[in-house]
Amino acid sequence: MIQKNKFNITDDLKLIELFREGKNDAFDKLVMKYNDLIFNTCFRIVNDYDEANDCAQETFIKAYKNIDKFRAESEFSTWLYRIAINTCKNRITSLYAKMKKKMKRIDRINLHDDQDCITDIPDCKLDPAEIYEKKETEKIIMTAIENLPLRFKTLIVLRDIDGKSYEQISEITGIKQGTVKSRLSKAREHLRDKLRGVI
């Protein structure tokens, strides 16, 4: 379930070193390497494609400007995640009113409303009915996650969707591992209560 980090850390450090020496292409490679990961996390937290795109770009711009502050004490991806999570938190806080309007109760979700369709998921193995059901389930889960408090939301996204380890989550969020565990249990309990009888 938990995905292992398939990216090579030494490659990242080499690219960062090259970028510091003045080769801008090196940073482009880093962007290409991590854009999907960061974008996905941003999307799961913000739950809006354009906002997620904006947050992901802002994350890389912040990383570009503050690359000198990266001291390789943690992995580059962890550092990027930390920036992304903070950017998303700030975005949600600033757009609180806007987000509040968008929030929906799970029991009032119109399953035939395709306006909020997340993405097309091409999967040839599944028949159209299965694809439709999968989409709807995902939509319900996303709405349930969206309605979680922000401190729970980030943990659910990092652990259950991105598959980060407790140690990595602790590094990214700056919360102790014990607190991460207890908070995650509470978050999952909230989520179970919301999804019970829906999926």
Binding site: N35, D36, N40, N53, A56, E138, R188, I199
Partner: protein
């Protein structure tokens, strides 16, 4: 373990985050409890749904968008500096200059007088304020009006200060004058006068212990037979002279006074002992009044045509 306790840690059990001992306990409980097993199934189902969620990919032109936005942001930040021809390190210099200015203001406190009463302001300021703010009793002004007038007066004073030439604040000295002796100038022969003068002078000196005079100087000139003026001049040279106020000394000398002795007392005040003719006494006091504040003055009685010996205590 109760079901409520088991349910609390079931997600961690499913996550494989629990110790083996607790895991065994939960496993045994789950075998007996169908409700907790059902809850675990639900947890596993949600986790499965999470894992089935497809990763959302970034737009294909993400890198292009990123570079475009980066160029816009960097060019915007560059423009601010290049437009005004400011280098990036300039703000640090500006900050340094501001800090230095603040330190100077804190040390010299040039605006402190605005906070306090007029008495603490420089002399020229206090005078100008007095001219602007004559509060009459008959006006029967209420307190707010008074405060407004005061503020207005301070503003006017600041204006006046800007317009006028800044003069150094004059700090007046306090001079305490004491008449030590009187004696006739003309009707005493040189020898007898010098002896009588010495006697009276030594009496006066011995009566003031704190005076700090040099008695050897008195003794050395006691037997000399010289005219009085020559004697006084010589004596003035011989006494132990300490550095005192030149401004006061010039006033004394220009008004016909002869300095006999100068010294500085323990409390830091200067003591000058002079001899002056009675006729010139008043003009000396007038001249001194301009530069210093005469605190005490013993008026000479029946001293016409006589020399006066004075001790002046000058305090700053």
């Amino acid at each position: 373990m109760k079901c409520a306790d088991i349910v609390k840690v079931l997600d961690q059990y499913a996550d494989g985050q629990l110790d083996t001992e607790i895991e065994i306990l939960i496993k045994n409980h789950l075998e007996k409890c169908p409700e907790c097993s059902k809850e675990l199934d639900f947890i596993i189902k949600i986790q499965k749904k999470f894992s089935e969620m497809k990763k959302v990919k970034a737009p294909e032109d993400f890198l292009y968008q990123f570079n475009k936005r980066l160029n816009n942001e960097t060019s915007a930040s560059k423009n601010i500096f290049t437009h005004f021809n400011i280098k990036r390190w300039m703000p640090y210099e500006a900050a340094g200059a501001i800090i230095i200015a603040v330190v100077i203001v804190m040390i010299y406190k040039p605006f402190d007088y605005l906070k306090n009463e007029y008495t603490e302001k420089p002399l020229h300021m206090a005078e100008s304020v007095k001219k602007i703010q004559p509060l009459k009793k008959s006006e029967n002004l209420t307190k707010p009006v008074k405060s407004i007038r005061k503020k207005y007066a301070i503003k006017e004073a600041v204006k006046l200060k800007k317009e006028s030439v800044v003069l150094p604040a004059v700090k007046k000295k306090i001079i305490t004058i004491q008449i030590l002796n009187l004696y006739a100038v003309n009707d005493i022969p040189a020898e007898s006068e010098s002896i009588s003068y010495q006697k009276t002078a030594s009496k006066a000196l011995s009566s003031k212990k704190s005076f700090g005079a040099a008695p050897s100087a008195d003794m050395s000139i006691r037997d000399e037979e010289k005219p009085l003026t020559a004697f006084r001049k010589k004596r003035a040279k011989q006494v132990s002279v300490k550095k005192t106020d030149n401004q006061i000394k010039t006033i004394i000398q220009s008004n016909g006074g002869l300095i006999i002795r100068e010294s500085v007392s323990k409390d830091g005040s200067e003591i000058i002992e002079i001899e002056i003719h009675q006729e010139k006494y008043d003009s000396l006091i007038k001249a001194l009044n301009k530069k210093a504040e005469i605190k005490k003055r013993d008026m000479p009685s029946s001293a016409e045509g006589k020399m006066i010996r004075i001790r002046m205590n000058i305090k700053r």
